[in-house]
Symmetry: C2
Subunit: 190 residues, 2 copies
DNA sequence: GTCTATATAATGATAGAC
DNA sequence: GTCTATCATTATATAGAC
């Protein structure tokens, strides 16, 4: 029943490389040439695996959804209390601090870019937030009742995004650690 | 002594148009062709007023700094209490809600793009945040003492950015009004 | 499945007429 | 000061050989 021997195809390589480059450079600036160079294929090869650039974007968003889903499941499996699980979410600000300081948050960056482009995939990219929100809501419900669960979930994501955004803007790792500590205190106080 | 008859030159037109387009589309996607069309000049004309695209960016950042400086002075001149002045800052989330939902925050968007591009002007764009932070710190110091002033200023900017980011991502005006109401409550409680 | 070659459009930038 | 014409580069995308 275990999942074994899942082949890593060229299509998967394209998606993984595009995922990283879209995070680092944005969707518009991520070119076929750059992805091709990164994984050593030719530009023409893309159109065997994808109809156009937008379909790569769709695949990347789908890939991110799956990745996030797996991460949330792991946080849940490895931690028995909702307090510990929510702590995992908060700590991403620390474990990924180098990337956040340089590139910001992958979710909000893409969502914002697609919003400004008036891109059809904007709604899909926003679903990543919904995934986190739903998961956090369930954890907060376990922690202290259903009434405030969604408010707490939303509030935490707002704080998380604000910290990531400002730390990136000011390129300030201390801001990251100090504001993250406040989040832990807030969680403790609930 | 009053400032009268300041001519609006072509250079000013370019800067104003670039300011708006950079907000809406980002720096990379804002082309000379698009700016030229917006203000009805030719593409070749840019290079009489600016050496290259980066110099337009510098001028736009300088323009935004001046605009922000004026805004902060007005908030201060038109309101006698620090509480009212800080309220002005919070209320931008409401008065500019349409733009925020569609495009996000101009400051953090540019700062993030330049950070990811590893662009030299990144530091300059971050100075806009410093401008707000310094002004807010002074208002909070007037409000309740110097010890907590900078922490309050930073915390407010973090919240503001988080609200703008998430409202943009979820395209949710209700989130904007609800979280802004929380900010007002927080200010009241200080 | 992967490649090379190419078509087409848009970009930042330059030269020079007026 | 503003324009037209042009260049070099890069982008997405297509056609067809292997």
């Amino acid at each position: 029943m275990a999942e074994v021997d899942i082949k890593t195809t060229t299509r998967d390589h394209i998606i993984a490389a595009a995922d990283e480059l879209i995070y680092q450079q944005g969707f518009s600036k991520t070119s076929f040439a750059h992805i091709a160079e990164k994984i050593s294929i030719s530009r023409g090869n893309f159109y065997y695996h994808f109809k156009n650039k937008d379909q790569i974007l769709d695949a990347v968003i789908h890939f991110r959804m799956a990745k996030t889903h797996t991460t949330l499941q792991q946080w849940e499996a490895l931690n028995s209390t909702p307090h510990e699980r929510i702590t995992c979410y908060i700590n991403v600000l620390i474990t990924h601090q180098k990337d956040i300081l340089r590139f910001g948050c992958a979710m909000s960056n893409l969502s914002n870019e697609l919003s400004r482009l008036d891109h059809l995939a904007k709604g899909n990219s926003a679903m990543l937030f919904v995934l986190y929100r739903t998961w956090l809501r369930r954890q907060f419900a376990l922690l202290g009742g259903k009434q405030m669960a969604d408010k707490h979930a939303l509030h935490l994501i707002v704080q998380w995004q604000g910290i990531a955004t400002l730390a990136n803007a000011l390129n300030d790792p201390n801001l990251l650690t100090q504001e993250t500590a406040k989040l832990h205190q807030w969680l403790q106080s609930l």
